[in-house]
Symmetry: C2
Subunit: 392 residues, 2 copies
């Protein structure tokens, strides 16, 4: 096996603590993977990413295929020497990017035909070419190419995309098995917001020797409640002894919800994106650092945080940097936010190991609640354990 | 004395090796000061600046006065705790920024009246308010407010600006002496491109107890030859036992020329600005890293460089980052370029200590020559030690 998942404990809630053993280190789960789209973080250096406690990062097959291109990864023998990262890497397949492409893409049974936005060259991203590219990248975990659709697609359209996703998953598996590179391959459960399609997708894919299973096609237009229901439904159909990865999700609150539903792995651009917009996640809620009120503050972003930014810099200095749109400000907030996500996963794991995730979930949801979370909770009043009264 | 300058050796050429002793460390000279305009480098963190070997940085009174404002520096007890820099700081006075302001500024004997581009508030930058701001910043070295003009101004206009600069220098000195903050104050020699005015300015200012002397009003429109002549002329009028600082200069070649003429201190945005544009200075000439030719190169930027970028990253990876306009690329080139400048100053100092600056000057000029340097040398053929034949 290219990766081995060790399930350490399942909490009474169903939340799981495990270890994902890879050739580049053993990774405690739940785990958050920060996103290095272009074999680079927007503001963070490799040393900074390491200092956040991150052990696995995500990079993007679609973008790396177009630039710098497969020949560069072959020349450098993979992404690790190229970007000087000695931790693990998961590569997405490009399915989500194809979905987001402008109109002039053509998706056939063979794959996605489109033109490079860099040089207008013709490109084909197929299950086989995606695997070839991911083999050149030499990630620890490859993803199958899937057909990603808007969550609001009707059932017939959702079924069609799901069935093609299944055929592409088997083609990806066959392509991967052509040569043993020591890389793992995860399949992606689709099925939109239709519970029986999610069941069918999980049922089909788990019959094949994939190393793990992702839940895809969420965070693309569905309601919060639909996302939670579909996550729970898909996770319940997946084997206990394989890792479960919820793609592209989410906020700290989303992570708490998904872990409650049995998910082990996450990736998201939110912590770095929010940093660029001047927001810091803390265990006392969201901090908009550009507020004038922070000009004279010599307090750290989060007094409970031990990231190097909180250990050294004041809110006043960060206010100065971010209100002046200085890159070093975005970088410091990114370091803090990614570290915050990692600490959140560690707190969840500790609670799961103690069998007290239910309590940790309630407490952490209150601690990390953002104004949007509060509004969502109000909208879903009664359907959710956290009410405005509780968090107020 | 707030700073003490120890002249260690004067080379037969007139090049000087010294030590500037400050309350935040002893700084070997010649020294290059990287520019942290807004109490922040555009791409570099404090640890990175330290790793380049920089021991003193420059920050900008004009910008810091407008944002974050004097109250912030009073609250944080100066720039060092604010930006978490424990090395030395020199603050310019704002004279150059006033010169660069749009038309609606009004310069009177009192000072410069203008409106803040942040909030349109009325501002006065006078010798006294500049000193007050620099005292709040708590830099090791303050600069007097000077009247900076275009080098091509006629003699009458140049004299008028010079004489006001002298009056303002004395007002700055008086303001500084109101309270002993332990900070040094440097005067600024003006006089444009008129040798006898340069003599007069140096003659006047050196009669007063300034801690050092800057050569100002260069790099603002004069020819290379004028700059070199004026630098030599002003330097020759300055006392041996005080540091000499050539403001806002320059390229590696400019530093070599100015040290030859007896200058000790420099600041310039060129190394970081060029980094943002994809250029790396090396001892094998200038490298434009965005060239396609570097895509597959696993060589470092400069094989003789021991900065962390050259020790870890390939030209191929830097080509990828810079051609994709990723901030981390600008940051890596900035680290390298600032480190290159520091290594250049160390090489010059070593040669001066050995009494062999003439030879080092010739060799280093060839090693760092850029296409522009070659063109300039051609234009000045005969007037310059380096000819195209030598460097070709």
């Amino acid at each position: 096996m290219a990766v081995r998942f060790e399930l350490v404990t399942t909490d009474p809630t169903g939340a799981r603590a495990g270890v994902l053993h890879t050739r580049r280190g053993s990774i405690p789960t739940p785990v958050f993977m920060p996103v290095a789209t272009h074999a680079s973080f927007r503001h963070l250096g490799m040393e900074e990413i390491k200092a956040t406690g991150s052990k696995i990062l995500l990079s993007n097959t679609y973008h790396l295929m177009l630039k710098p291109g497969i020949d560069v990864f072959r020349r450098f023998k993979g992404i690790h020497p190229f970007m000087q990262w000695d931790g693990a890497v998961l590569t997405d397949s490009g399915g989500f990017q194809i979905f987001s492409l402008p109109e002039d893409r053509l998706i056939t049974e063979k794959g996605a035909h489109f033109r490079s936005f860099h040089d207008n060259s013709r490109q084909l991203l197929s299950p086989e070419s995606s695997i070839a590219m991911q083999q050149a990248i030499n990630s620890e975990v490859m993803m199958v190419l899937d057909v990603c659709i808007d969550s609001r697609t009707d059932e017939a359209g959702t079924r069609e995309a799901m069935e093609r996703t299944h055929r592409w998953a088997l083609r990806s598996l066959a392509a991967k098995n052509q040569v043993d590179t020591g890389q793992a391959l995860f399949a992606i459960v689709q099925g939109g917001v239709h519970p029986h399609l999610r069941d069918e997708s999980a049922g089909f894919l788990t019959q094949h020797p994939f190393d793990g299973f992702a839940i895809g096609g969420l965070a693309v237009g569905e309601t919060n409640e639909e996302r939670k229901t579909m996550t729970a439904r898909a996770a319940s159909q997946l084997p206990q002894d394989k890792p479960r990865y919820l793609m592209g999700v989410g906020t700290p609150t989303d992570l708490l919800e998904a872990v409650l539903r049995g998910v082990d792995m996450f990736d998201c651009i939110i912590p770095t994106k929010m940093a660029q917009q001047g927001y810091a996640y803390t265990f006392q809620g969201l901090v908009r650092i550009t507020r004038q009120a922070f000009r004279l503050s010599d307090e750290p972003l989060d007094p409970t945080c031990d990231c190097y930014v909180c250990k050294r810099y004041s809110r006043g200095y960060l206010q100065h940097l971010m209100s002046g749109k200085h890159h070093t400000g975005s970088r410091m907030l990114s370091v803090h936010n990614v570290h915050h996500y990692q600490v959140l996963t560690w707190k969840m794991r500790d609670a799961i190991l103690r069998g007290s995730y239910a309590q940790a979930y309630r407490e952490l949801k209150q601690a990390v609640a953002t104004p949007k979370d509060l509004k969502d909770a109000q909208l879903e009043a009664g359907a959710n354990a956290v009410t405005l009264k509780e968090v107020g």
